[in-house]
Symmetry: C2
Subunit: 81 residues, 2 copies
């Protein structure tokens, strides 16, 4: 079976996110003053061939650990559909 898996890679909460800061400045100068604490990461969608949702999640976790996220600066979350 093929599962659709979403991997969300975000900057660690302890770190500054200058890209997010810049986007927040942009939003506020567009008049969107009710927005704060903008953080920007990556959203990666994969199709994974696996026997079960658990196996698909395992494969996606391996992908996250080995390539998709840099653990020094980022964490990742996985959602299997």
């Amino acid at each position: 079976m093929t599962f659709s898996v979403q991997v969300k890679v975000m900057p660690l909460k302890e770190l500054l996110d200058p890209q997010g800061k810049a986007v927040m400045g942009g939003l506020q100068s567009l008049g969107l003053t009710k927005v704060s604490d903008v953080r920007i990461g990556k959203s990666i969608s994969l199709q994974v061939e696996a026997a079960s949702p658990d196996e698909a999640r395992q494969i996606a976790e391996e992908a996250g650990r080995k390539l998709l996220a840099n653990p020094v600066m980022e964490y990742f979350e996985i959602a299997v559909n």
Copy 2:
């Protein structure tokens, strides 16, 4: 109230995604051969000050339209928590 809003910005399905292609190649050469159709977009988290979840969603939609997504190449989805 403050709502935590996630905006997912992805390349349009009709378009090639060279970054995703490159990452898929990387995963396969790491031995993750069960992964296909990798697409890479942005995941943006915002804190939005609003009276209701609907209002928070509206503000995030305006942010997506005005700044976060380029409609020529990308679409976006919003999730309010």
